[in-house]
Symmetry: C2
Subunit: 132 residues, 2 copies
Amino acid sequence: MTDTLYTIGQMCDEFEVTPRTLRFYEAKELLSPIREGQKRLFTKRDRARLKLILRGKRFGFSLEEIRQLLNLYHIGDQQVTQLARTHEVAQKHLGAMIAKRDELTLAISDLQDQLKWVEDVLANRQSKAAAE
Amino acid sequence: MTDTLYTIGQMCDEFEVTPRTLRFYEAKELLSPIREGQKRLFTKRDRARLKLILRGKRFGFSLEEIRQLLNLYHIGDQQVTQLARTHEVAQKHLGAMIAKRDELTLAISDLQDQLKWVEDVLANRQSKAAAE
DNA sequence: AAGAAAGTTTACGTAAACGTCAAGTGGTTA
DNA sequence: TAACCACTTGACGTTTACGTAAACTTTCTT
């Protein structure tokens, strides 16, 4: 086990977030850095979780939704009696993400069509201008 | 041209939003329903835009980002001199969306792996229980 | 004509996700 | 030891995206 620990400043530099953000996530129980006296020290686990948090945010999930998802990635913590519930939540999220990707694919096609349109108009303007 | 018009109530039923939401979007200049006296009447154009707004929201875009994107879909309004700029903005957004989809695909794989793990644990518990 | 239904503006309230001071602690470098 | 970091805990401020309540007009229904 590499037990490298990170200060709040190092974390901020790496992940491009502010200290306020990390403390906020801790208050919301998304992260749980250990303490050395007053200071927070972030572990490998915190870093993995933060990656997932930021990823989740980019997809429009709320912090509360993310908090539930996070448990999936640290099953060691869970009681076996809650695994079934965890599994259910996971599948729901998976479905949502797949749906989201499909819709995103569609949106991309739409936008590409629009782009073609714009390019055609621009091309026509060019050839017209050349003809004069 | 089908010039079907819709009241605010009809729009709300169809798109599952509240009147407040539609008025808010109008205030933010995302929609521009015409008026019959006091009342708003929503056109085909508004409906198309609303679809795009709601889609954008699902992907975590802010209303302000969406407002910029929306112009891409109503090029008729634009001046030709601004088309090039529009084209540039469009490509930027397209790139972002494609990146987002790729990352989402990756996130889906990750989650699927985790699910397998959970399923394995659950299966083991079953076989163990059966053995006793 | 009376009331219910649907729509309107105005205005204040709210939850989420932080930003921004203020005031203090703990090491360390000049 | 003085000053300077990096870090800490409050506590209040801010933006986004609406919710909600009040007071009113217009339209439909009975």
